[in-house]
């Protein structure tokens, strides 16, 4: 029991940044845009979030700064991809490389600076429950927000008119354009939302997960988030499942290694990737569902013709 509660708590903190980044990317991709720059945007969010807290002392300002940094970086992507119809794949890759370098530059003087981490918010009454209260209702506010975002994104896509238009744009930009919907503007908003969510994911890493700034601290989480979106076939609830599965196994395999199980550590490190992909592929193998949920226009540049 002593080990259980801290383990669950670390699993939740490991899954939260993935959830933020993946939900943001899901919205971007649903509008028909593939932004491979998630990793770069996470790093920008991490360093800017940390710097903002360091200089202002306000945690909420740090989160906002992280979101703004991610959004700002995605704005560059949007300008190139929507404005100049650059290749989405190449631009996204460049954005990641750019984000790595830029964050290292900004964070030069922040390496080794200490921070206490985001304050925990105990939910009244519920947090007093034995065990459950400890595990589920004493987190920093971003954990709650990330979990709240799942039904919100799901509802937005399934039931709201704006979500319907967003899906329509991702399905056939030409038809949407013919009907008079502003394809470029809708995609711009989707890209900015994705950027801001990645930025928050980054801020979570540097403010809560391991409260400090280290160069390249996202350690490939951006790529995991991208993979989660695809393997979850663009469905928010499956993104939630995938993020917690991945977070869970990556923590559990550490414990297993610590306990000295006789499996090579390299195999154990592979586990989270293998299991997550395997599970998501297995539950999402219905071809019709894939066709239904994947945005048909993804990655294609939009050339408006009258």
């Amino acid at each position: 029991m002593d080990i259980l509660i801290p383990t669950i708590l670390t699993i939740i903190t490991a899954a939260t940044p993935l959830l933020f980044a993946a939900l943001g990317e899901l919205i971007t991709e649903k509008s028909g845009v593939l932004n491979l720059g998630v990793e770069g945007m996470i790093l920008a969010g991490a360093v800017c979030g940390f710097a903002a807290v360091h200089f202002s002392g306000s945690a909420s300002f740090g989160v906002v700064a992280g979101a703004a940094a991610g959004a700002l970086l995605s704005l560059i992507f949007a300008a190139l991809v929507l404005g100049f119809q650059a290749s989405q794949v190449a631009t996204g890759l460049a954005l990641t490389i750019f984000g790595v370098g830029l964050s290292a530059l900004i964070g030069q003087d922040l390496v080794g600076v200490a921070y206490d981490g985001l304050p925990k918010v105990a939910i009244p009454f519920l947090s007093d429950l034995p065990l459950i209260g400890e595990v589920f209702f004493k987190h920093d506010v971003l954990v709650y927000v990330s979990l709240l975002m799942v039904p919100l994104v799901w509802w937005f896509l399934t039931y709201s008119r704006a979500g319907l238009v967003l899906r329509a744009v991702g399905d056939s930009h030409d038809a949407a354009h013919a009907m008079g919907y502003p394809v470029v503007r809708i995609r711009l908003f989707a890209i900015l939302f994705g950027g801001a969510m990645s930025g928050i994911a980054g801020a979570y890493l540097s403010l809560a997960y391991s409260p400090m700034w280290i160069e390249n601290m996202s350690a490939g989480r951006g790529w995991i988030a991208l993979a989660l979106v695809v393997f979850a076939t663009w469905r928010p609830w499956r993104v939630l499942l995938g993020a917690y599965l991945f977070g869970g196994i990556s923590i559990l395999q550490l414990h297993a290694q610590a306990m000295g199980i006789g499996i090579p550590s390299q195999v154990m490190s592979m586990l989270p990737y293998l299991v997550t992909i395997l599970v998501l592929v297995l539950i999402s193998r219905d071809q019709n569902k894939i066709k239904l949920n994947s945005p048909a226009c993804i990655g294609k540049p939009f050339h408006p013709t009258s």
Binding site: L164, S172, M179, K291
Partner: protein, 504 residues
């Protein structure tokens, strides 16, 4: 109404009146100005001059939204639908005003049952047939309670069963007082469905006809034009040896919208030009592909080239025998849009011109040949490296025709050689085709342009519903007789007393 585009008068003083409850046909060949006229009515194009009266009041229609507000709805030839969304969602996206889903769903079901347009609002579009997709568009229009419904060639993508179903719906709508403007060049459909027809030719209104008083061939004559000004038929050509001989060639349709070829018999000799007339969509594409080798017959002896049975040979093997083919569709069939002119040249010419040496492309030879095509056929482009897609339609046509003719084929099959090409270029192409025949090649022209065929061929036949008529000496036939052939009727031999019947 008048509307001009740079270099073309698309509509010149065109009049059109439609009454409530009437199904009115707008009839004309491709390029006759039907689309332009309709786009002005629907507010997509602004007229240069002219006026629109709507229920007694003069109106100007600046955009489609205003047209819809007036009560004008339009079903386009190409649907604007989203595959991964449901029918309901698709319709909701097309509505100008916000409606809640439950209400919209019940309205869709009501219209769908009232007009015989069965459609499940919760189905996803990618699971639907083309006919069902069209129903979405029609219901989307009907939800706006229009007074005038414009349908742009609605049957071009439908199966015969779907067509008759659509006609029932349209008749019921017209009985309820809806005016329908039905755009088509399919004469039998117009005869079956429409009350009156406005016929356009070269941007001008030729006539307004009561459909009941006309036959399909008289409508065809009005559409194509009875007066041919500069008809100088090719005469005195001595046909040489038999080059192409098609015997009882039948081919299944490739998909449900294709036309099966039925028992085609055709001979083309060296030095002669044979023309195949026909209204679009009667098997022209299929015939071209069957001759070029893109569709292969199961019977080797259904097709002979220079006496060699080659019904089962593919395009490259036929090319090696001297066959060149120019399909109707320029981009994507005749040329690869994203490739340069040099590369496009290489693709069809590498065999005959020996453009491959030791496994490598002979770049300079290919480029020189491409430049020769560009120069001889006066193709306007940014040099031989230009993408095929960067050329205008007419220039690309000149390039493709030139590319094939300069390879000196023994047999050239060309569909719509002068489609969308200006008069000067058309003359160049016609002359090149004649010269090719004079050099001893066999030429087969498949075309919808009767003027072109009457003036430029030695013998002529027509294709209708996948069946090829007998082939006659062009000089012996009148336009009306060709019209009859196009409608699928056989000619009475007595009426051909003067002509040498050149039966195959």
């Amino acid at each position: 109404m008048t509307r001009t585009f740079p270099g073309v008068i698309a509509n010149q003083d065109v009049d059109l009146t439609i009454h409530a409850g009437e199904i009115h046909a707008l009839l004309g060949e491709n390029g006759a100005g039907k689309s332009t006229l309709v786009k002005m009515i629907y507010g997509i194009l602004a007229p240069d001059s002219g006026q629109i009266d709507w229920q007694g009041n003069t109106v100007s229609i600046p955009n489609p939204a205003f047209a819809r507000e007036l009560g004008v709805a339009m079903v386009f030839q190409h649907f604007s639908l989203f595959d991964s969304l449901s029918v309901l969602e698709n319709i909701a996206l097309g509505m100008d005003s916000k409606v809640n889903r439950a209400e919209l769903k019940s309205r869709i079901l009501e219209i769908s049952s009232r007009y015989g347009l069965p459609l499940d609002p919760d189905r996803h579009v990618y699971t639907l047939s083309v006919g069902e997709r069209q129903r979405i568009e029609i219901i989307r229009c009907l939800l706006q309670e229009p007074k005038l419904l414009i349908m742009d060639e609605p049957t071009s993508v439908l199966t015969p069963q779907e067509v008759s179903r659509l006609f029932e719906t349209l008749r019921r709508l017209s009985e309820e007082g809806l005016a329908i403007l039905y755009i088509s060049h399919k004469l039998d459909e117009i005869k079956a469905l429409c009350h009156r027809a406005t016929i356009l030719r070269n941007g001008k209104r030729v006539d307004v006809a009561d459909v009941n008083d006309e036959s399909t061939s008289s409508l065809a004559a009005m559409m194509m034009g009875e007066t041919l000004e500069t008809t100088t038929p090719r005469i005195g050509n001595q046909a040489g040896e038999l080059r192409l001989s098609v015997k009882n060639l039948s081919l299944e349709a490739a998909d449900e919208f294709g036309i099966p070829l039925k028992n085609i018999n055709l001979d083309v000799h060296c030095g002669e030009i044979v023309g195949i007339a026909g209204v679009a969509g009667n098997g022209q594409d299929e015939l071209l592909m069957a001759l070029s080798g893109e569709s292969v017959s199961t019977q080797s002896d259904s097709l002979f080239i220079d006496g060699k049975a080659c019904g089962q040979l593919g395009p490259n093997k036929r090319r090696a025998l001297g066959v060149a083919a120019i399909p109707e569709q320029r981009l994507g069939h005749g040329a690869v849009p994203e490739m340069s002119l040099v590369d496009n040249t290489f693709l069809t010419a590498f065999q005959r011109l020996g453009l491959v040496g030791g496994g490598f492309i002979k770049n300079s030879v290919t480029r020189q040949f491409t430049e020769k095509v560009i120069e001889n056929f006066n193709v306007k482009s940014n040099g031989s490296k230009a993408f095929a897609s960067s050329l205008s339609g007419g220039n690309l046509q000149k390039f493709i025709v030139g590319r094939e003719i300069l390879q000196n084929p023994g047999l050239l099959i060309v569909s719509q050689p002068t489609w969308g090409v200006d008069a000067g270029a058309a003359q160049t192409i016609h002359k090149a085709l004649r010269d090719l025949a004079d050099r001893g090649a066999a030429v087969l022209i498949i075309s919808q342009d009767l003027d072109e065929l009457m003036a430029g061929t030695d013998r002529i036949g027509a294709i209708c519903a996948g069946e090829l008529s007998d082939i006659y000496d062009t000089a012996a036939l009148s336009i009306e007789e060709v019209g009859l052939l196009m409608a699928g009727s056989a000619l009475d031999e007595k009426s051909l007393a003067t002509g040498g019947l050149n039966n195959v």
